[in-house]
Symmetry: C2
Subunit: 422 residues, 2 copies
């Protein structure tokens, strides 16, 4: 059974703080292994990748078969059913439409001193997207990572997707094609040109590898187990809410699903509905373990208190199954994504809503955002002084340089001011 | 002497690639020490901080004297000269004006299906800024870190600034006051409420500590030694350019200053001017070592080639000391900050230009940006389905969920669709 808390109980604050501090990440210390693999690939290049693929993926490759050829791609993609293709195309179109609005704008202006100031955005030149092989090989994640990169204007976008034992998910290849990916590799390698940014989900080994290369290249966030928090009022449908909670719980036994409601009757009804659904769910072992170990049902005094608790959790996904979802959403200060109203199950956001499904986990919505076009562009600041502008603000720069004992800084300004003065 | 390269020489590509790959970071492996300190502070809180401050800063503190009191702040600040205060105020005003334009906008729209989509930006609630004590205690860095945070709307902004031996830089305290910082501590501590984001420069120990807490809280970039690349044509003033190069070289013996020019005569004149200036510069030992070990002068065929080489370097600071700086700037794809024209020494950007001086180093301008208001806000995505919108796009979500074997995802959509269908 999940935890049942009531904000009116004496022990609530202690129990809630413990819930916030709960370690859910099942991350074995794989850093040493990963460091060895990176060193091996740096030293031996393709040969190391081929050896490691034989070992981990039970697959014999050559430098020529590391990447899928255009013919292999096409052949695999013909296996996709028309219905699956249509669904994936609808998802790709909607994700592209949403992310196209995220492209930030350049700015340039003149200030009172006559100086021209501003900034310009430019895309990352090359990006690499890791797509897990095997069980969690999700075509939706390919769209969510690749489309923002393409919208940003990334020139070269490649995917590394292991194919354990040679098994390929044709929907993943179709998603890559729809998103405009340039090349799909069966593994990272030295014959692949280096990229500037790496994104995409993965297990503890992938996370350790991303941490290790961070700085040499950019990375996206290190994603933890999925989370949902549902705030519901008496009008919430217990069955719908139960399925929404389970749709995160089924991802991973470390996932976390939390219901917060001022309605104790609904709280009980949802709990019963979860138990009922768990009996017939295919992934009931995973979802059941997540619900039992990390699930929570919290009864609050009112919706304001529910919003305040949610802000302390800073959930990855937040559903507002309440009569006035818009009003409640205005009280939310920390959340990766908000789903408003009874008709917006979180699963819509995983596939076809439009917003990205790569979102901050483990309370990191307090300081970070989901994946977006901004992850694939960077800003260059612009400054241009005129002689008059330099005369106006240069002396202050010179003075501050002196106060920081940076003489050459001051002299570089002074040399120009002296020219102006004579 | 720095390296002299000419793109017309046979060995150029090899030499330039070696220049790009040069390890400049003098980072001893301090990770073990830092891990011990973090564990100690986690376990013993204030007591550990007080012991460590006694050890490293030779300063005896109590929980009461960890923070500067309002009276101490005011007393220290009276030591600032009116001229220094005026310069700092001008800098603060200009930095605030520039960053105020960076606040991103919320968006919300309805699409053809009737779904409401969008995003909202909210500030990080609490941020901590580290300011080095001792030699490199720069009031300008306080402004550059604190003002974007305040513009973003960060509610609680605190500074940790060690005061070795009790030494305080009153300009740092005045900068904190001008920027609206809430509290200045002589060191991090357990009596300080936790923050959500930590920014600010520091040595190898600070960098290791930031890497270690990354994920628990947000951090800004890990900054490496400073860099400048100057592209100049025949119209460049050798003395000005020499001082601009030295203004980065004087920061750190691992700093890097590079001149790229199609004019071999200018290249020689700048080199001679650097040698001349080095004889009289206060920080000539640091600047001289940087110029000797990491400096480079590259003669190119033309300005286009210069821009292309600069893009491969992706420099932190780029000066365009050429006749048509605007045209040349349009060919720049990777740089932290561009300074256009002869009248814009990089030092202006360090203090009073307006743009931030915290910029990506070590070629990371390929994938990252300087510090900005965006570092202190995060985006929450918004989605609201109507029954009609769900009917239109829900079936595609259900289908994709099935293809990914995520049954509860599909059922959460299906349960709602069934209600619609009666």
């Amino acid at each position: 059974m999940p935890q049942f808390l009531n904000t009116a109980d004496a022990g609530f604050e202690t129990a809630f703080t413990a819930l916030l501090g709960m370690k859910r990440e099942d991350s074995p210390d794989v850093d040493v292994t990963v460091a060895g693999i990176i060193a091996d690939v740096r030293a031996r290049g393709d040969a190391a990748v081929i050896d490691l693929t034989a070992k981990f993926d039970r697959l014999e490759l050559t430098p020529e078969t590391l990447a899928f050829s255009a013919e292999e791609m096409a052949a695999e993609i013909t296996r996709v059913s028309p219905e699956d293709r249509a669904a994936l195309e609808l998802a790709a179109d909607r994700i592209r439409a949403y992310h196209s609005r995220q492209m930030p704008e350049d700015a340039e202006w003149q200030d009172a001193s006559g100086a021209t100031l501003g900034w310009r955005w430019t895309p990352v030149s090359a990006a690499g997207l890791y797509v897990p092989g095997g069980l969690a090989s999700y075509p939706s994640s390919v769209l969510m990572n690749a489309i923002p990169a393409k919208v940003a204007g990334v020139e070269r976008l490649v995917i590394a997707c292991p194919t354990p034992g040679g098994a390929v998910n044709p929907l993943v290849l179709l998603a890559a094609q729809l998103a405009g990916v340039d090349k799909v590799y069966r593994n990272g390698t030295a014959t692949i040109q280096p990229v500037d940014k790496i994104t995409g989900p993965g297990n503890a080994f992938v996370a350790a590898a991303k941490r290790r290369v961070f700085g040499k290249v950019g990375i996206d966030m290190i994603a933890g187990p999925s989370e949902i928090l549902v705030i519901a009022d008496a009008g919430g449908d217990p069955d719908w809410i139960a399925l929404d909670l389970l749709s995160q719980a089924e991802h991973d036994q470390s996932a976390q699903a939390i219901l917060v409601t001022p309605d104790a009757v609904l709280a009980r009804a949802v709990t019963e509905a979860v138990e009922r659904q768990l009996q017939v769910l295919e992934r009931r072992e995973i979802a059941g373990a997540s619900w039992r170990d990390f699930g929570a049902v919290i009864v609050t005094r009112d919706l304001d208190e529910a919003a305040a608790l949610s802000n302390r959790v800073a959930p990855e996904h937040l559903e507002l199954c309440v009569a006035d979802a818009e009003a409640l959403s205005r009280k939310i200060t920390h959340a990766g994504a908000i789903f408003l109203g009874h008709w917006t199950p979180e699963a819509i956001g995983d596939y076809v809503g439009g917003p990205n499904h790569v979102l901050p986990t483990a309370r990191s919505a307090r300081f970070s955002s989901g994946l977006s076009v901004l992850d694939f562009v960077k800003r260059t600041t612009i400054a241009r002084m005129t002689p008059e502008a330099l005369a106006a603000i240069g002396p202050a720069a010179e003075r501050l340089a002196q106060s920081e004992s940076l003489q050459a800084h001051g002299l570089s300004v002074r040399a120009r001011l002296d020219r102006l003065n004579g």
